[in-house]
């Protein structure tokens, strides 16, 4: 009875959420385009899996193993997504309005979980084609298909419930609200543990790369695989086993979800109240006001006073926002992964270098985006100050460029210390990073201006960077050609000193090593110059237009 009335309230709240989300969307076309890119990426992944599945030889359980692997990978991804959404809605974004209203903890948890339903279609898009291919290649009976769909559905709900359970665990230990980046870190660690722990427990599965043998007993402990086991059992006419796994899934969902809802009813309010408390106390902590000792150094830079002030303020902010730096550290983790395991993923030598650079510099694009977006409503301070539009943009660009450049060079240094590549390659890379990062930050700039949301709406609360509108993901499309071009140039430059890297291109490589290096530098700078000019022109135009619109309408969006 009460569950029903709670559910009614949840539906009611969800309607308002959707309404606000619709109002938050600026351009429907861009929104669809961004959605389309995501769906296409998942579609491509699904197609790839189907292709691999279809080409596997029959027998040996190879297909069943792949099926399980996809359930496992997809499940880990879904778990990650849901942890992100649910944790975000409960532990990151404040929602006092729900907490002060006479809603039960159960209703609050249900409301927050209701949001997660969005992740479901992506998971289905990935898994269902694979399941169908599996059925076709294994010559399964017709009854296989409805049961397989049921298995997919049960797996999804089981993962939902597990996410809720993990959230409860987290709420028990967490002392204050966390930032989005910490959240991303925790979620990805949880998702990675799904892969890692069984491998540690079960030494026999330690195969090469992704060729894990998932038939072992330890893997049976993972609910994500139960669905796949159930499907395989149906295909191989083992009804008893299928029913067993199905019941296991149901039981798991019911127990966990029931437990979560009961717990929420009892403890959710005071746990979340505690988070807010902790947050408040943490805010009170004193910091040392920066004294700006090296003022003279600053004066030397030929910048306008406004530019200098904004740039410095942004740096102080970055220093006090460790979460933004955690975002960069993520890429450093990948760096370790690539560097510490030579030949990982089949890459070595110069390729490894190029991948390393992309992995390290691409995430720094965020600095450029947040630099403008995090101004939020304070952007009017800059509008009322005697600063030209160019002053502000230069500050924002310098902030992104200098920070990203420093970060990339630092990463390169770590890489060099571990791998010891040829000296000329290192020098060339160190030089080429400058134009690359400069161009990358300039091309980010117009997007940052265009998509900065100076007033955060309910919908944007769910984005990683609060003050950036959803369409921002489009800017990756602009980065892609730049990175491909610069990577090609770099490979061309280091090729003579790193023979054997590109056998296919070997016939094209003539001339001395020095000539290669010089040509690469010239090309890299030229490409960057063109990109910078375009990026700058567009950014200035966009910024002027944005200021004009803000002055016309009085609204910051």
């Amino acid at each position: 009875m009460t569950v029903c009335s709670d559910w009614q309230k949840v539906r009611h709240l969800a309607r308002y959420q959707r309404l606000m989300a619709r109002r938050g969307i600026q351009s429907r076309a861009l929104w669809w385009l961004a959605r389309g890119v995501t769906v296409a990426a998942f579609g491509a992944l699904a197609a790839f899996c189907v292709l691999v599945m279809a080409t596997l030889p029959p027998g040996e359980g190879g297909r069943s193993n792949l099926l399980m692997l996809i359930f496992l990978g997809g499940g880990a991804f879904l778990l990650y997504l849901e942890l992100m959404v649910l944790f975000n809605r409960l532990c990151v974004i404040p929602f006092d309005e729900l907490l002060v209203s006479p809603l039960s903890g159960r209703a609050v948890l249900m409301e927050r979980m209701y949001e997660q339903v969005r992740a479901l279609p992506l998971y289905a898009l990935l898994v269902i084609p694979v399941v169908i291919t599996y059925g076709v290649t294994e010559n399964a009976p017709l009854v296989f298909y409805p049961i397989a769909l049921l298995a997919v559905f049960l797996t999804t709900t089981a993962i939902y419930a597990s996410a809720a359970l993990l959230l409860l665990l987290l709420l028990t230990f967490l002392k204050r609200r966390m930032s989005r980046e910490t959240l991303a870190l925790i979620s990805s660690i949880v998702a990675a543990l799904v892969f890692v722990i069984p491998r540690i427990l079960d030494a026999s599965t330690a195969g090469h790369g992704f060729q894990i043998n998932l038939q072992g007993a330890v893997w049976s402990m993972l609910p994500m695989i139960w669905g796949a086991r159930m499907i395989a059992a149906v295909a191989h006419a083992a009804p008893l086993q299928a029913v067993l796994y199905g019941l296991l899934l149901c039981a798991e969902t019911v127990i966990i979800a029931g437990f979560a809802l009961i717990w929420a009813n009892r403890h959710l309010h005071d746990r979340i109240g505690r988070l807010y408390d902790g947050q408040h106390r943490a805010r009170q902590k004193r910091v040392r006001s920066s004294q700006r000792a090296r003022r003279s150094v600053w004066r030397v830079l030929p910048l306008s006073p406004a530019t200098r002030a904004v740039l410095y303020k942004d740096w102080v902010r970055l220093r006090r926002t460790p979460s933004e730096l955690i975002g960069l550290l993520f890429s450093a983790l990948y760096l370790w992964f690539i560097v510490l395991r030579p030949g990982a993923g089949g890459f070595s030598g110069a390729w490894q270098l190029v991948i390393m650079i992309c992995v390290v510099t691409l995430p720094t694009v965020r600095l450029g985006l947040s630099g403008l977006g995090l101004e939020s409503a304070q952007v009017t301070l800059l509008m009322q100050a005697p600063a030209s539009p160019g002053d502000v943009l230069i500050a924002k660009w310098l902030y992104a460029f200098l920070t990203a450049f420093g970060w990339s060079e630092l990463s390169l240094l770590i890489y060099v210390l571990i791998i010891h590549p040829p000296v000329s390659a290192v020098v060339l890379t160190a030089i080429c990073l400058l134009p690359l990062v400069a161009a990358s930050s300039s091309i980010t700039l117009p997007f940052a201006v265009y998509y900065a949301a100076f007033v955060a709406t309910a919908r944007q609360g769910r984005q990683r960077n609060i003050y950036t509108k959803p369409g921002i993901s489009l800017q990756w499309l602009a980065q892609l050609p730049l990175y491909v071009l610069q990577a090609g140039i770099l490979l061309y430059g280091v090729a003579p000193d790193w023979p054997g890297q590109m056998p296919a291109l070997a016939s094209l490589l003539t001339g001395s090593a020095t000539m290669h290096v010089v040509l690469a530098i010239v090309a890299s700078v030229a490409v960057a110059a063109v990109v910078c000019l375009i990026g700058w022109g567009m950014a200035l135009k966009a910024w002027r237009r944005r200021l004009f619109l803000m002055r016309e309408s009085g609204a910051l969006d």
């Binding site: 805010r283 009170q284 902590k285 004193r286 910091v287 040392r288 006001s289 920066s290 700006r292 006073p305 406004a306 200098r308 002030a309 904004v310 410095y312 303020k313 102080v316 902010r317 006090r320 926002t321 409503a377 304070q378 009017t380 301070l381 800059l382 509008m383 009322q384 100050a385 005697p386 600063a387 030209s388 004009f548 803000m550 002055r551 016309e552 309408s553 009085g554």
Partner: protein, 245 residues
């Protein structure tokens, strides 16, 4: 010091401000009154260069706000109704930021210290602004505007959220600034305060300035010796009661 002629602002087909003209002489404290939604904030934002007027022009000192925005804005201080501050800076850093943004010499820092002391913020000045209360943010934003020594100061409901002592300090500070020749415009709903401190008063209703002058002038114009509060209610009721047009 400040001259606005025929300011009009339309939002879509809604006219928020209609043909408002006002002059602020150096050293004058002008009180801006009006019911909610009258268009006070909109007018002040136009004076501060944050909104483009649909018609009309603003001159600050000898500079046209539209044509020479940089020169005009150098003379201008504006405190919005919601304090705008950078949460990740400390109070002192924020003041320093404002000082550098307006390219002021560093001796204004001493002046800022005395303001911090006067507003009882000196103990919190090295804390992050994110931990400040609403009134403290209001104060630090105000000090930030004072540090660049504006010649024209526009304050939108600055007394909201200030404690009694802060409100008195604000009044004394504004008086002192006026004596130095700064022109101050302050919008408020506190009529006794306005009556006590302002040299001249403008009353705005539904986007129009229906009356302006000293309190005594207004009283004699409407043949009454009622307090400003009664006069205000009488005027606004009469105007709002009229059929639109």
């Amino acid at each position: 010091m400040l001259r606005a002629d025929g300011l009009t602002k339309r939002f879509g087909d809604k006219e928020a401000v209609c043909d408002v003209s006002l002059t602020l002489k150096a050293g004058e404290l002008f009180g801006f009154l009006g019911p909610n939604g009258a268009g006070k904030t909109t007018t002040i934002r136009m004076l501060a260069g944050l909104l483009t007027p649909t018609r009309g022009e603003v001159r600050i000192g000898n500079h046209d706000l539209e044509r020479a925005p940089r020169e005009a804005k150098k003379l201008l201080g504006y405190l919005p109704d919601k304090p705008l501050v950078y949460e990740k800076l400390t109070g002192r850093e924020y003041i320093r930021f404002m000082m550098e943004l307006y390219d002021m010499p560093s001796d204004v820092l001493d002046e800022a210290e005395s303001y911090l002391h006067a507003f009882a913020l000196d103990s919190a000045a090295d804390d992050l602004i994110s931990g400040y209360s609403h009134g403290m943010k209001q104060k630090i934003a105000l000090i930030g505007q004072l540090t660049h020594r504006p010649r024209v100061l526009l304050l939108d409901e600055p007394t909201v959220g200030l404690d009694p002592k802060g409100a008195r300090t604000l009044r004394e500070t504004l008086r002192a600034l006026c004596e130095q020749g700064v022109a101050v415009l302050i919008s408020t709903h506190l009529l006794p305060v306005a009556e006590m401190m302002c040299d001249r008063i403008g009353i705005m209703v539904s986007g129009r300035m229906i009356a302006s002058g000293t309190v005594v002038e207004l009283q004699s114009r409407y043949h009454t010796d009622a307090s400003l509060e009664d006069l205000f209610l009488q005027l606004t009721d009469a105007t709002e009661g009229e059929p639109a047009g």
